[in-house]
């Protein structure tokens, strides 16, 4: 079974993160268009995704909205792949970053998620 990870970027980017997710064996769902960070919770629910990654300036808007609407455990204001790994290990399901569209981020977070899901299976 593939693990779906939703990406929402305020400026409509996120392609590099998506490439990293794919390279690590996950299935990225990249929400198109500006303001996509605010739709992460909605798309996660529609797609049955295991994780959402939201990007905006302060790294919190999409994550907090997903928490308010869907009750996700979130981390926000993150600025490094390592912070994302830690959040996944803690069981957070929506991660809020500043503008950090990198393949490394997608790869490492997916790797951590697959490991976490494998442990709990």
């Amino acid at each position: 079974m593939t693990v779906k990870i939703v990406i929402g970027h305020r400026l409509g980017k996120g392609q590099a993160v998506a490439d990293g997710i794919r390279a690590a064996g996950g299935e990225p769902i990249l929400i198109p268009g500006p303001g996509a960070d605010m739709k992460v919770g909605d798309v996660m629910a529609a797609e049955g995704a295991a994780l959402g990654i939201s990007f905006c300036g302060s790294g919190g808007a999409g994550a907090v909205t997903a928490k308010a609407k869907y009750g996700h455990d979130i981390e926000f204001g993150m600025r490094s792949p390592q912070a994302g790994i830690t959040a996944v290990q803690q069981g957070k399901t929506v991660l809020g970053f500043g503008f950090l569209d990198s393949e490394e981020l997608g790869f490492k977070v997916t790797e951590a998620l697959l490991k976490k899901l494998g442990e709990s299976a």
Binding site: R10, L11, P34, G35, M38, C56, G57, S58, G59, G60, A61, G62, A63, V64, T65, K67, A68, K69, D73, I74, E75, F76, G77, G98, F99
Partner: protein
């Protein structure tokens, strides 16, 4: 605790994160959030609950950056081109109204990011 339901909603939303809302954040937000509400009203932007919370968490990040003297990296110049000069000027005025008395000279990135929040709210309102 404050009397502001928005600050309380934000506090609840980030309570279980590595950076929960602290008293110093509450005091800062109690100064900044009314400026944001005034600006939205002046531009006739209706903020729904989601947009208000999104702006509040952005504001939380900003007041923390001001306190720490941090600045965000510059954005792609194309981003600012999508925002009207009037919106940028209004966002600059708001940012400086908060930051200048605290000795913080905010860079254009802060202005653009705040203006983007207003722009998104405006587009949602018109769609």
């Amino acid at each position: 605790m404050t009397d502001d339901p928005l600050i309380e909603a934000l506090t609840g939303a980030v309570a279980d994160t590595a950076e929960p809302v602290r008293d110093e954040d509450r005091h800062a937000l109690a100064r900044l959030l009314p400026l944001i509400e005034e600006r939205a009203a002046a531009e006739r932007i209706l903020l729904d609950e989601d947009r208000r919370l999104a702006l509040a968490v952005h504001a939380l990040g900003f007041v923390r950056r001001v306190r720490a003297g941090e600045h965000l990296d510059a954005l792609d110049p194309g981003v600012a081109e999508e925002i009207t000069p009037g919106s940028l000027a209004a966002a600059r005025e708001l940012i400086d109204a908060y930051g200048t008395p605290l000795g913080h000279a905010a860079r254009d990135t802060e202005v653009v990011l705040l203006a983007l929040h207003f722009e998104t709210a405006r587009q949602l309102q018109e769609s």
